[in-house]
């Protein structure tokens, strides 16, 4: 957390000074996503300025993950436009400047892959279909930055849920992105991995990187967040300073209401809640 001492807003300020009216990192206008006739996102517009840390908040099923997937082109938007670094989604986007950390590794297929191989795949983007020179050294450095250097040659399938997630952070960081997108980095995670997430975001924030982070609760990220967008039923209901948590949300007896079941938790990283009356 020592990176925070440098001052949380220097990055954003520097970028703005350099080129006055900077091109927004993300400019999404009027994005709607309809899946199977159901409107998942309705007319969402979001802008992320260079160096800004944006939290995407909302209950489960409010459309946060769908929005992020639409912003990155993982899922096609039904209508509306998305521009990344000024370029419309497609081959002209400078994809090497985008880093994405999904919620978890896809289910194992049985073919082993080492942490090093997974992280190296983060160096491919757009039309770069083969790893660049020095890929191995860069991948090892990225693993080092999430304290997994000793595990570079282990099978990711044999790692704990938290270690797998740190591999995914390293895969996003290896290309030294100017935009990092994190999907629910605090759900069902061990303490060292949570610290890695917060530390990573703090470090990138200082370096002027834009960050979009999906959060269920603001929690440990609170001091880093510049702006929050809150989604409800697929619509933006708030866009501005991070809102306060509901009063009943912090108590020991508050009940999490889930509209539909959570995705399966990682095999080895369940959240343990011992309620002490």
């Amino acid at each position: 957390m020592s990176a925070l001492a440098g001052g949380p807003t220097t990055g954003a300020a520097r970028t703005a000074d350099l080129d006055g009216a900077a091109v927004p990192t993300i400019a999404a206008e009027d994005v709607s996503v309809v899946i199977g006739g159901q409107p998942i996102l309705s007319h969402v517009s979001v802008t992320v300025a260079p160096g800004e840390v944006l939290a995407l908040l909302g209950a489960n099923g409010s459309g946060k993950s769908t929005l992020v997937r639409a912003l990155l082109g993982v899922m096609p938007a039904t209508s509306g436009t998305v521009r990344l670094f000024g370029a419309p989604l497609g081959p002209t986007v400078p994809w090497d400047r985008v880093g994405y950390v999904p919620q978890r590794l896809p289910a194992a297929s049985g073919v082993p892959a080492t942490a090093l191989e997974v992280v190296t795949s983060g160096l491919l983007h757009g039309r770069r279909l083969r790893p660049p020179r020095g890929a191995r050294a860069r991948a090892l450095a990225a693993l080092e930055s999430v304290s997994l250097a000793d595990h570079a040659h282990r099978r990711v399938q044999e790692m704990s849920g938290g270690q797998q997630q740190r591999v995914l952070i390293a895969r996003a960081l290896v290309s030294d992105p100017d935009l990092l997108v994190l999907d629910e980095p605090t759900t069902g995670i061990d303490v060292p991995t949570q610290a890695t997430f917060v530390d990573t975001v703090a470090r990138l924030h200082d370096a002027g990187t834009s960050v979009v982070v999906i959060l269920h609760e603001i929690g440990a990220f609170a001091p880093l967040i510049d702006r929050a967008v809150v989604l409800r039923h697929g619509r933006v209901v708030h866009d501005g300073p991070p809102p306060a948590a509901r009063a009943d949300h912090a108590g020991a007896h508050h009940v999490h209401e889930h509209a539909h079941p959570d995705p399966e938790p990682p095999p080895t990283g369940p959240t343990l809640n011992v309620e002490v009356p």
Binding site: R69, L72, G73, V74, P91, V93, W95, V98, Y100, P102, L105, P106, S109, G110, V111, P112, A113, T114, L116, E117, V118, T120, S121, G122, L124, H125, G126, R127, L129, R130, P131, H153, R154, R155, E158, S160, G161, G162, R171, V181, T186, G188, I189, D190, V191, P192, Q194, E217, G219, A220, A252, T268, G269, P270, T271, L272, N273, V274, E275, V276
Partner: protein, 306 residues
């Protein structure tokens, strides 16, 4: 002349050996991507569709009066296999739920279409047997050249684009978020799978093609830690069983395709049985995940948490 020299100087055996080595090397490389994409049965589906292609080639050949009448069987198989594999890839991309069913329709449609068309073309089901179960003894010089050319394409794509194909097969969502041409790369995997099926058709037969793509991968992933080593190991296993199987059938009159596949399965059995002995045990570490609980014990500082 010693029997071994005699075997190696027989032109028929030389052609068979070249085909066996190339197929044994290529099939597991493509198979590694298929297993990683959870499409281990795709090779089977393509094989069944290729049978319709064989019969279609035969039919076109008989209409056009080509001699011999099966001259267009292999090109027919190539076309049908490529088209079939692309259809399967599109079905997979569109919706995962119907993928199973689509594959099943292709299996049965492919076989039934082949049997029907071969009759229309004036052939008999017996003509299909050599395609279904392989006929490495009848490999001609032009077959060998076709095999060499297709193997070069398969190896070029499979090894040259290994990293990109790994990225797409490992985590498709991340690959899309990296701007990789996911659809083109997925289709490349489908096409090299189709080409592999058609070159392996002569060696092990359409019904057993998939075994040579998948079983060596199953052996290799028991021991390998990385994707690259899984692929290399699988290829070594594939070449070994193909060569040994072929040599065995030179001395004994048993079907080469089936022998190769049975050998591969025996190797898998042995590899699985010996795994606890041969593989270095994983270092023992605390299996409990480090997860926050809500309990504060007397002698520990309060941890920062959400």
């Amino acid at each position: 002349m010693s029997p071994v020299v005699e075997m190696l100087t027989s032109p028929l055996m030389q052609r068979a050996l070249v085909a066996a080595v190339l197929v044994g090397a290529c099939a597991p490389i493509v198979g590694t991507f298929l297993v990683q994409r959870r499409m281990a049965l795709m090779g089977d589906g393509i094989g069944h569709v290729a049978l319709t292609g064989v019969a279609l080639g035969w039919l076109v050949g008989s209409w056009a009066g080509v001699v011999p009448n099966d001259a267009l069987a292999v090109p027919g198989a190539v076309v049908a296999a490529v088209v079939g594999s692309l259809v399967m890839e599109l079905v997979r991309e569109r919706g995962r739920t119907s993928g199973d069913l689509a594959l099943a329709l292709m299996f049965y449609g492919g076989i039934a279409g082949g049997v029907l068309l071969i009759k229309v073309a004036g052939g008999t089901n017996a003509n299909l047997i050599s395609y279904l179960f392989g006929s490495i003894a009848t490999v001609s010089a032009s077959d060998v050249w076709l095999t060499v050319a297709l193997a070069a394409v398969i190896l070029g794509v499979g090894l040259g684009l290994r990293s990109a194909l790994f990225a797409v097969s490992h985590d498709e969502e991340f690959a899309r978020a990296s701007g990789l041409p996911v659809r083109v790369l997925s289709m490349l995997v489908a096409v090299i799978a189709a080409l592999t099926v058609t070159i392996a058709m002569r060696v092990v037969g359409l019904l057993l093609v998939s075994a040579l793509m998948i079983v060596p991968v199953a052996v290799s992933q028991l021991y390998a830690r990385s994707f690259a080593r899984t692929m290399l190991g699988a290829s070594v296993v594939g070449v070994s069983v193909s060569l040994v199987g072929l040599v065995i059938t030179y001395w004994w009159d048993i079907p080469p395709g089936a022998t190769i596949v049975v050998l591969a399965i025996l190797v898998y059995g042995a590899a699985a049985a010996l795994r606890p002995v041969l593989r270095h045990p994983a270092p023992v570490h605390d299996p409990h995940p480090e997860v926050v609980d809500d309990v504060l014990l007397a002698d520990e500082p309060e941890l920062a948490r959400d």
